[in-house]
């Protein structure tokens, strides 16, 4: 399947064409970026269709077979992640046209936007540990620069804070790669899974697992490693906030954790209950702590930032439950939260663009003036809270179902009860910004912004109504790819050498 390297080659090439294009014709940049992200979306749809037929596609870079060379291992989970990334990237690129129009140096923004896309795509499809680190750092470095893009005092401060935390995580990841290489003499994920199986669960093994969990917890912003997120995500321009909260933390933090824990280390709920309880603990702590903190926020985007920390906890809860329904629910939640939180951050961008402030106490009466934004916010919010028939409901339902099947009835009650927390902090925005009567000097959101928001609303409704198809074709195969455990290794070596 020759299309697999295109997932990161296209945005990477686009990133470096943009500076040259910017010298020739500035107005073409946005059209170019939108076309590129749309082509990625089409490519991701095609990839998803192909994985229905082939559970694992191994692409050998430069025809070097797996343990020697770098391979791209494209399975159902990768296809799912790539699809979600391309949706959020596409919506963000449409939104950027008017939102970024008053910034200087737009080509730098779009270059970084394409680099961050390339990095996330690469992390999702690679089958090599060090390659994963390189793509992760490409995405991370671009995100540090994008958070500081406005070069105001707060943005620089947020960016530095984010950089310090993120790099501690990244370098811990690098250190654990060094330790893993010392033990296994391989970097290929499949080969490493086989070798680690022979090493067994020694204290050294658990040390490395702990270090990796620490590194990815910083990247995914679990409480108590979350302190950078509520600063960094609001500081970025709105399309970037949407990208960072919607999908970035999930690719860099959660996808990597899930892939390594299930497919490489071969841990499972049945054999390693303590580890999975730690995951549940991280999840519950994030949901409760960040949810309560979000209630007291007065800044539109900062509240959404805390909400992201809280919602990411649900995903970890699903993985911690560890049976089919829990894992499928967690994966479904990645989709639901990417669409929902991506949409909410886009509405915040629309509000900031119209009024110039994010302070909830100063905003009022936008519900009538900006009806598309208001209704987008309501749909996104209802999906996050978990009202049927929107996509968020089915995701949460699967997690609750998983908890009940494993006998964690108290987790099921907690997950449902804590939705009230989500409802409470989202109502705070709804009341202050959209419902409260007041004189607002705001005009309707520009056409392209509305298109981007409506696109996500339509997807939220569509994926909610067609949840059975989503589970059958996207989420179910992805969950099975994870629960396959170290069978992953056999599948990679079995599919190698074909290159189609």
């Amino acid at each position: 399947m020759t299309f697999i390297p295109l997932f990161f080659a296209i945005p990477l090439a686009a990133a470096f064409i943009i500076p040259i294009l910017g010298k020739i014709a500035k107005s073409l940049i946005w059209i170019f970026v939108t076309l590129v992200s749309f082509s990625l979306f089409v490519l991701a749809l095609y990839g998803t269709a192909v994985t229905q037929q082939y559970p694992m596609i191994v692409y050998e870079m430069g025809n070097w077979p797996p343990p020697l060379g770098i391979v791209m291992a494209f399975d159902s989970l990768s296809a799912f992640m790539v699809l979600v990334i391309s949706v959020v990237v596409f919506a963000g690129s449409i939104f950027s046209l008017r939102y970024m129009s008053h910034y200087t140096g737009q080509w730098k923004f779009y270059t970084l936007y394409m680099l961050i896309t390339a990095g996330m795509m690469g992390v999702s499809i690679t089958g090599d540990l060090f390659n994963m680190f390189v793509f992760l750092e490409i995405a991370a470095i671009s995100s540090y620069a994008l958070v500081a893009f406005g070069v105001d005092a707060e943005e620089l401060e947020a960016s530095f804070k984010y950089m310090v935390m993120g790099e501690v995580g990244g370098l811990t990841f690098l250190l654990s790669i060094a330790l893993l290489y010392a033990k296994t003499s391989t970097l290929n994920l499949a080969d490493m899974a086989n070798t680690l199986q022979m090493v067994g669960h020694t204290p050294f093994f658990w040390l490395v697992v702990g270090m990796l969990l620490f590194a990815f917890s910083i990247k995914a912003a679990f409480v108590p490693f979350h302190s950078w997120l509520p600063d960094a995500h609001p500081a970025a321009p709105a399309p970037i906030s949407s990208l960072l909260s919607g999908i970035f933390i999930k690719v860099l933090g959660i996808y990597t954790t899930a892939r390594l824990v299930f497919n490489v280390f071969g841990l499972s709920r049945a054999n390693d209950p303590v580890f999975f309880n730690v995951l549940i603990g991280l999840g519950v702590l994030s949901i409760v702590f960040a949810g309560v903190t979000a209630l007291s926020q007065r800044d539109y985007k900062r509240l959404l930032g805390y909400s992201s920390v809280s919602q990411v906890g649900y995903i970890m809860l699903g993985f911690g439950i560890g049976n089919y329904y829990g894992v499928a629910g967690a994966i479904f939640y990645i989709l639901a939260h990417a669409l929902g939180k991506g949409l909410l951050f886009l509405t915040s961008g629309s509000v900031v663009n119209a009024t110039g402030t994010r302070d909830l106490t100063k905003l009022a009466g936008l519900g009538e003036k900006m009806s598309t934004t208001a209704w987008s916010f309501r749909f996104g919010g209802m999906s996050l809270i978990g009202l049927p028939p929107l996509v968020g409901f089915f995701a949460k339902y699967l997690i609750v179902l998983g908890a009940l099947k494993s006998g964690f009835w108290w987790l099921a009650i907690l997950a449902i009860a804590l939705s009230v927390l989500t409802l409470a902090y989202l109502l705070k925005i709804e009341n202050n910004v959209f419902m409260k009567k007041g004189r607002a000097q705001a005009s309707k959101a520009p056409f392209t912004m509305r298109i981007a928001m409506v696109f996500l609303v339509v997807l939220i409704i569509l994926f909610g109504i067609g949840f059975q198809q989503v589970i059958d074709f996207l989420v179910g195969p992805a969950a099975n790819a994870l629960l396959r455990g170290i069978e992953y290794a056999n599948l990679v070596f079995g599919s190698a050498g074909t290159n189609f």
Binding site: F130, V134, E137, I141, Y144, A145, A148, V151, D152, A153, E154, L156, E157, A158, S159, F160, K161, M163, V164, E167, V168, G170, L171, L174, L175, I177, A178, L179, Y181, A182, S185, L187, P230, D231, S296, Q297, R298, D299, R302
Partner: protein, 112 residues
Amino acid sequence: MIIFLSCIILFLIGLYAIVTKRNLIKIVIGFALIEYAVNLLFALVGFRFGMLAPIITRVDAPHRFVDPIPQALVLTAIVIALGTTALMLTVALRIYDRYKTFDIGEIRKLKG
């Protein structure tokens, strides 16, 4: 074993600098220390006593080389570290421009 442990100690010294130092530039230096520690560990992981540097000088000569992969990885990691360090210094200088100080105690516009 001791050389591996010394790398970890260097890593921890860097972490100590990042956590406790209040000057932005000193924090960046802490990162440099961590990067050296990890790169040194990589190079040591691939090292074998009595073996040659992995450079082919004659095609037919028998080769007994140290593991070349960690060296390639170190090179990549150095490039990434270069990027982050440059970005960090740029942001630190910009922060100095806005706040007129490098002290993180006084750089607190964000809270909550």
